[in-house]
């Protein structure tokens, strides 16, 4: 009887120490999951989800404070992939988006520099008092530069 109690207690202790050790040594699973979710997002950094970028949105999804259908640039495809990763149901996308790039009407640009500051991926080149232009290949179509423009010379052009 005593032997049995001692043996079981010893096993329980050993297992506990082992678990604690493993728990300390392995990286926090949450951080990994945020990475995984972040990888599935389109990285437009457009903030259309209501968070200040793709990674914060990923963190919010993992935390449970945001639904998985808030990313218009990612579209239904991203919702599907997120659902698969997180074991959630596929839900329809909130809002819709077509892939587009920003184009600056260079004749109207006054060189105010506002759009350049707004661009999350540094896809606008130009200097104060000089004309700006968008590097098409780097533009993610987030539309963040459209609102700050005082002369409304930026338009979103759909990409074929």
């Amino acid at each position: 009887m005593l032997l049995a109690v001692v043996t079981i207690t010893a096993i329980a202790l050993l297992a506990g120490v082992g678990l604690a050790f493993v728990y300390r040594r392995l990286p926090a699973p949450d951080g990994d999951l945020v990475d995984e979710v972040d990888k599935l997002l389109p990285q437009t950094q457009c903030a259309q989800c209501g968070f200040p970028g793709c990674r914060p949105y990923a963190a919010a999804i993992v935390e449970g404070s945001a639904t998985i259908n808030l990313c218009p640039p990612g579209g239904d495809e991203t919702v599907r992939r997120l659902a698969r990763l997180l074991g959630k149901d596929v839900i329809p996308l909130a809002g819709s988006a077509i892939a587009a790039v920003a184009v600056i009407n260079e004749a109207d640009c006054i060189g105010c520099y506002h759009c350049r500051n707004a661009c999350p991926v540094d896809a606008i080149v130009g200097a104060p008092q000089f004309m700006h232009t968008v590097i098409e290949a780097e533009c993610t179509g987030c539309e963040l530069c459209v609102a700050p423009c005082p002369v409304d010379c930026i338009e979103m052009r759909p990409v074929a």
Partner: protein, 506 residues
């Protein structure tokens, strides 16, 4: 000289297809007259179109460079006859699902005046690196159908230490017989090209591979090899199985080495070149004639006399078919390439290009049965030369399941069409795989773009943080400086400021 069939590796699957080659090989190769207009696409295999270096209205000579490759992965385009450039515009070309491409159109003057010959000298005395550049200047690209720039292929091979050069004269697809006729009529050029390629590659040995249904070509090559006495070059015969002429399949047959997934024959020490490419290299380096013409097979039950013709690049297919006696009745189906891998086109205005190894005219559109659900019989897996599981891949392709497609090796599909042919449910597997490949490429592009955007976003974030840190540090420094200067200095500054304010008030 004999050509042994023993000592071969094995190839999985494949099909014995009816050849339909007898008719087109029974007569000599006919020359197609220079047409009134040549249409030369300047599109390259990769990396955008070449840059035209001629203007509309300018006169050009045969062999003159009319477009230079923009990026590092193209070949120059030469005028294939003399005349005047009349347009640089988009024209229909032989591409899947139709479509147009930028072309240079030359109105021929019929004189066919050549550029002054550019001497290359004895190829044995040219350094291999210079030889590569010369091959590039000749506009030479793989004539087997993929038109990969030959010089670049050689360059890759040189950095990978290739020991064996394989000249592909297998030509396993039904109807096509242009390589057969080339080997019969111009075996010297093929062997000469092999010698030049060996010199450029600095490779040890070369084997010319011919399918067993081409005895005449084998005999002719044997004679020429015996005359040349070049010990490095040998001849091998492979059984007639489609698609033994696929690059990886051929390497496997000849060396028993399997090209790794996503890899190239150079990964297992081999380089495969088409026999036509070798002949073109010979014609350029020894004969000073850039790649401006090629032999192509005109065949099918929709042409009057199936035949092989030699035509200038840019000749409209209508002229090419006319050289074969024209259409028989109302043609229903025009294919550029063979029946298995060819592209169907809707107009015979499209020009002959380097990749055009066959013009196939069928009196009736091929009948394909109604598609029924897959019964998972596995016949497709049995014939697949790359040992894929088409039935499983189809499942994933329909579900748009990227990981499944990748895990089951979709990228290794060579689109040979064997699975389509044996499928009892008449499922268009190859078309589905082609589409799925495009989809995977799209997804990969998207992912790469997202990754780039993330990096740029992070770099910007870091820059902004650094700037704000620097600003704070600067403020702190100024504050500290003011403090260390003592109360007297501060009082003085304040007095100065007050004085200014009073000035302003006045």
């Amino acid at each position: 000289m004999t050509a042994p069939t023993y000592d071969l590796g094995t190839m999985h699957g494949g099909l014995r297809l009816p050849a339909f080659k007898h008719e087109s090989t029974s007569g000599p190769v006919r020359d197609v007259a220079i047409p009134t207009q040549l249409v030369l696409p300047i599109e390259q295999r990769a990396g955008g179109a070449a840059q035209p270096v001629v203007r509309v209205g300018q006169s050009v000579l045969r062999g003159q460079v009319i477009a230079e490759p923009g990026s590092g992965t193209g070949v120059p385009v030469h005028a294939s006859s003399s005349g005047r450039v009349v347009a640089i515009e988009s024209r229909p070309v032989a591409r899947r699902h139709g479509g147009t491409a930028p072309c240079i159109v030359i109105e021929c003057d019929g004189r066919d005046e050549a550029m002054p010959a550019q001497r290359h000298g004895q190829f044995r005395e040219i350094a291999p690196a210079d030889l590569l550049l010369q091959i590039l200047d000749g506009g030479i690209a793989g004539l087997g159908g993929a038109v990969f720039p030959t010089a670049q292929k050689l360059m890759q091979a040189r950095s990978a230490e290739v020991e064996l050069l394989i000249l592909n004269g297998v030509e396993c697809e039904p109807y096509i017989s242009c390589d057969d006729m080339l080997m019969r009529t111009r075996a010297e050029a093929v062997v000469g090209g092999a010698q030049i390629l060996l010199q450029a590659l600095q490779a040890g040995t070369c084997v010319i591979v011919v399918e067993s249904d081409k005895p005449d070509a084998l005999a002719r090559l044997g004679e020429v090899l015996a005359d040349t006495g070049d010990e490095r070059i040998s001849l091998k015969q492979v059984p007639t199985i489609y698609p033994s002429g696929g690059e990886d399949q051929l390497v496997q047959l000849i060396t028993s080495r399997e090209v790794p997934t996503g890899g190239l024959p150079t990964d297992v020490g081999c380089l495969v070149q088409n026999v036509g490419t070798a002949a073109a290299v010979h014609d350029w380096i020894v004969g000073n004639e850039p790649l401006i013409s090629r032999i192509t097979t005109v065949s099918g039950d929709g042409v009057a006399t199936p035949v092989n013709v030699r035509a200038r690049l840019g000749t409209p297919l209508a002229d090419v078919v006319r050289a074969a006696g024209g259409y028989r009745g109302e043609p229903r189906h025009l294919l550029v390439g063979g029946p298995m891998t060819g592209k169907s086109v809707t107009t015979d205005e499209v020009p002959l290009v380097k990749a055009t190894n066959c013009v196939l005219v069928l009196a009736d559109a091929p009948t394909v049965g109604t598609e029924r659900p897959c019964i998972r019989c596995g016949d497709c897996a049995a014939v697949c030369p790359v040992r894929l599981q088409p039935q499983q891949l189809l499942w994933y392709a329909n579900a748009d399941h990227e990981d499944g497609l990748r895990d089951f090796g979709l990228i290794d599909c060579i689109e040979c069409g064997c699975c389509d042919l044996v499928c009892p449910s008449h499922i268009r597997l190859t078309a589905a795989f082609r589409h799925a490949k495009g989809r995977i490429r799209e997804l990969a592009d998207e992912k790469a773009r997202a990754e780039r955007a993330r990096q740029r976003f992070e770099a910007r974030d870091e820059r902004l943080q650094r700037a704000s840190r620097e600003r704070e540090a600067e403020l702190a420094r100024q504050k500290a400086a003011a403090r260390s200067a003592g109360p007297a200095a501060i009082a003085e500054i304040l007095a100065r400021k007050r004085g200014k304010d009073e000035d302003a008030a006045e």
